[in-house]
């Protein structure tokens, strides 16, 4: 791990610690611990969304804005199946399958048509797909207050004198587990090696005989599964509403930017710190109302910081 990476890690930890000391330092942990727990859970969701984006972006050059919409479609399907009395584990699986199918459809059928266009055009095209999914989902399930229960909501775990629901722990553990898993996958398997090669130089990898379509399909698949899982967690922990879940991509982008669209570990730490800062801002009387913009402000500052003194250069591709 290079010096720069360690420094970046520390920046996020320091930001989180600073916000904590400022707003929660003088209050007992019994009160403030709740905010830490919910912040880590929300932050895990941001990080999960960001990880899905970064994995796909690195392998295929597509920044997928439709991950939220795919997650929303999955979560609504899970809710609907639940209403029909389907065995719960099947509904969760359905959520992931729907998100996976939608993402793979885009990755196999539409993304190749834009493979040689500018990065920003590829990204914007996924917005078109997101609008289509969002329109269909809102058409099928009209606006209505709904909620998605998971059995883990009922299980509480005592940690440091706090009762934390197992769903939150699950989201947190999943975020960490997935980062470790993907890191191992990229570092230890042949497909992972190929994926890193494609991320570095797509055309050179093709010349070397790497099956680009297969590698990209796997990346789309990973991102689809992550979209489904994040959608399910988001629907449970925050709100089951298609528009809200669709636009969870915006804080996910903030988390992805925290890792400069590149480093998974930084996406995780950045996402977690954004969640905690957002949550702890509830304690501030003036900033309480606008706390959801905390991730965006942090991401913008990170971008500014990352390009200090930098100039647009000839290096790299357009």
């Amino acid at each position: 791990m290079s010096k720069g990476t360690v420094f970046n890690w520390l920046v996020y930890v320091a930001l989180m610690g600073g916000a904590w000391l400022w707003l929660a330092g003088d209050k007992p942990f019994k009160v403030t611990g709740m905010f830490l727990a919910s912040g880590l859970a929300i932050g895990s969701l941001y990080a999960l969304g960001g990880i899905g984006m970064v994995v796909l972006f690195r392998a295929s050059g597509v920044l997928n804005f439709s991950a939220g919409a795919a997650g929303a479609a999955g979560a609504m399907t899970a809710w609907q199946l639940g209403q029909w009395g389907v065995w719960p584990p099947l509904t969760w699986a359905a959520c992931i399958v729907v998100a996976l199918a939608l993402t793979l459809f885009y990755g196999r059928m539409i993304a190749p048509l834009l493979a040689w266009r500018e990065t920003v055009v590829k990204a914007v095209a996924t917005l078109g797909f997101a609008l289509i999914i969002l329109g269909l989902v809102s058409f099928i399930w009209i606006d209505d207050p709904r909620s998605l229960e998971l059995p883990t909501d009922q299980i509480g775990v005592r940690l440091f004198g706090l009762r934390v629901t197992a769903t939150r722990l699950l989201a947190f553990a999943a975020a960490i587990g997935i980062v470790v898993g993907i890191w191992l996958f990229l570092g230890r398997t042949e497909i992972g090696l190929q994926m890193r090669a494609v991320a570095n130089a797509r055309d050179l990898s093709a010349l070397l005989g790497i099956p680009i379509r297969r590698v990209e399909t796997i990346a789309w698949g990973i991102s689809g599964v992550l979209a489904g899982f994040t959608g399910l967690m988001f629907a449970n922990l925050i709100r089951l509403e298609p528009v809200v879940i669709t636009f969870m991509v915006i804080p996910s982008i903030a988390a992805a930017l925290a890792g400069r669209l590149n480093s998974l570990a930084l996406v995780l730490v950045g996402g977690l710190s954004m969640g905690v800062i957002e949550s702890v801002l509830t304690l501030s009387p003036t900033l309480k109302g606008v706390r959801p913009i905390a991730p965006f402000v942090i991401a913008a500052l990170v971008l500014l910081w990352a390009q200090r003194g930098a100039k647009l250069t000839f290096g790299g591709r357009d």
Binding site: T119, L136, S138
Partner: protein, 330 residues
């Protein structure tokens, strides 16, 4: 360069004729319901022209145009309830403040490649949505945010345009001026610089183009136009609602600017008509308005993949074909 500033093109003539026809006939034909729809369509056409210009000339994607209209509208309402300045002065100030605000927002991205501006503006759209929902728009109350519960203080419309009909005409004139301003800007600065940046920033730099300055200037113009459009929107009803400025609206306006055809004035008009009129029509026909999302999304994909000049480009191609092959775009 100056010699060509007042060059008359067929597209320009048809655009001005269209604006003149709208100016004369639209207020006469429309009932009060359609009057307000046409007014907001005109205003959104103006805002769409800003995004379209940036996308067509520089390939820059701004996903927060409607959010920035909200900023312009906020400043407009704030000034209206604060001092007794004329409408036009308030509108100019709203455009200026929005422009500065836009520059601050885009600061992290202007020195980076195109993708980052899209990301930063998308985050800005999300952030503005939250801010508007939290603080609402000024309606004559006390304090910085100027919000009070219940009644709303009166809004002063421009001296020239007190009635809704006159206000629609007023908006058409301002929107036309906005289009002409963009066109003048396009003619005054070397088109090669834009073409180079669009093609490759590295090549543009090698040719001596100041890429950052060029992007900053054009983004500022687009944002300033959004600010003025927001100010006009505030004048339409005298108050604003945060639901108008959601991030999904910004995304749709961008999508429609591409669908309409970002290179042409007609494209911005088509975008605004689809944006404001299509949901209304779907509603009238008893079709779920959510399906508008599906149509717009599919339109965006179609335009990006196979029809880079959008609907307007296809219309122009058709006209050119009918007239015997001469291509008279721009």
């Amino acid at each position: 360069m100056d010699r060509s500033l007042f060059r008359i093109t067929p597209s320009g003539v048809s655009g001005l004729t269209f604006a003149a026809l709208c100016f004369v006939f639209l207020p006469m034909l429309a009932g009060s319901y359609w009057l307000s729809i046409f007014t907001s369509t005109t205003i959104f056409a103006m805002a769409a022209s800003g995004v379209a210009f940036m996308y067509a000339r520089l390939g820059m994607v701004s996903l927060t145009q409607v959010g920035l209209m909200g900023v312009g509208g906020w400043v407009m309402l704030r000034l209206n309830h604060l001092w007794d300045l004329p409408f036009e002065v308030n509108m100019a100030l709203a455009a200026l403040v929005t422009m500065i605000f836009g520059w601050i927002l885009a600061l992290p991205a202007l020195r980076m490649r195109g993708l980052y501006l899209a990301l930063v503006t998308l985050m800005a759209a999300g952030g503005l949505e939250i801010i508007f929902a939290t603080y609402q728009f000024p309606n004559g109350g006390e304090g910085f945010w100027g919000v009070k519960i219940g009644s709303t203080n009166p809004f002063r419309r421009p001296m020239l345009a007190q009635s809704p009909e006159a206000y629609l005409r007023y908006c058409i004139v301002i929107a036309t001026l906005g289009f002409l301003f963009i066109e003048a800007h396009r003619r005054l600065f070397p088109g090669r610089a834009w073409a180079l940046i669009r093609r490759s920033e590295a090549a543009a730099m090698a040719a001596g183009v100041n890429v950052t300055l060029c992007k900053t200037r054009d983004f500022g113009i687009s944002v300033g136009i959004a600010g003025a459009a927001g100010a006009l929107l505030a004048g339409s009803l005298g108050l604003l609602d945060d639901g108008t400025f959601r991030s999904s609206e910004s995304i749709m306006l961008f999508a429609l600017a591409v669908v309409g055809g970002a290179r042409f004035w007609l494209g911005a008009v088509i975008a605004a008509v689809l944006f404001r009129v299509l949901p209304g029509l779907l509603n009238t026909w008893g079709v779920d308005t959510d399906l508008a999302f599906v149509i717009f999304g599919a339109g965006l994909l179609h335009a990006l993949i196979t029809a880079p000049n959008g609907i307007a480009g296809q219309v122009y191609d058709l006209v050119a074909k009918l007239r015997g092959g001469k291509d008279d775009r721009d």
